[in-house]
Subunit: 142 residues, 2 copies
Amino acid sequence: MKIGELAKRSGLTAHTIRYYERIGLLPYADRDRSSRRDYDASILVWIEFLGRLKTTGMPIRDMLLYAELRDRGSGTEAERRALLERHRESVRAHVDELNACLLALDTKIGGYAETEQRMKDYDATLPERRRKPVGARSARTR
Amino acid sequence: MKIGELAKRSGLTAHTIRYYERIGLLPYADRDRSSRRDYDASILVWIEFLGRLKTTGMPIRDMLLYAELRDRGSGTEAERRALLERHRESVRAHVDELNACLLALDTKIGGYAETEQRMKDYDATLPERRRKPVGARSARTR
DNA sequence: CTACGTGTTCGAGCGCACTCTAAGTCAAGA
DNA sequence: TCTTGACTTAGAGTGCGCTCGAACACGTAG
């Protein structure tokens, strides 16, 4: 599989695939006689895994750490597992936070929903907004 | 309340507060005789609201849009509500996605957990990783 | 033979959201 | 009076994760 095909299948762009290889997120790919990358379908498994780490907010530097542990092979399983478990905890915490925000958002939206008559502008309970006075450079003489 | 105090109470830095004012996320604050910002406690309500939008992944440009609608006052409630509702949907979708990733992560971690004997290296099922051969600039003569 | 499409490398550029620096101002306490 | 420290401004710099451009190399179809 050439890079264009892999791009299509993985959802990454060819640019991004090369970038990932450059930084070490993807292994250095085999090249054909004319130096073109030729991929085995199994690379998709790894890319999908990286995608999940990315979706869940793991920074590239941590994915890199995981990739390096994997490169070192056996003897690093405990560390890899620990890394994943720490990440899982942070994702769970984030999901909790998002759910709390969703509740608050429901309340806020509920405020807008309340009888258009009785509550013309729910936001009026928040402070009045002012703009920067143009021209006048504040009270200072400068 | 001076900017230092607001920074402490809001969790933002004074730098960030000034930056938010500059871009229009925070209203232009009243200044005392010596041009220093003097805040009313009510600003905290707005900052907390912005914090929730930020936590849930809303880009600043959208918060700005909301802030501008609020500035325009009544007549914009429907649009503000719609903006929030669209955002709520995207947050819900993201939470679903995160939960799906959490399931996959559980499976992955479960793989590491499986009897250390039978599965020395679960990752061995993934493609072998290679490194870029140093020196040798591929087969090409250049 | 030539044109085209797809690939290659290196390195610069971008959008986002801050984060920090420099140089100056001011009020209050020793 | 002097010093300290919290503030002011405009503007430059940072870190992240891509994203793009330029110039060149192949292989195949017409």
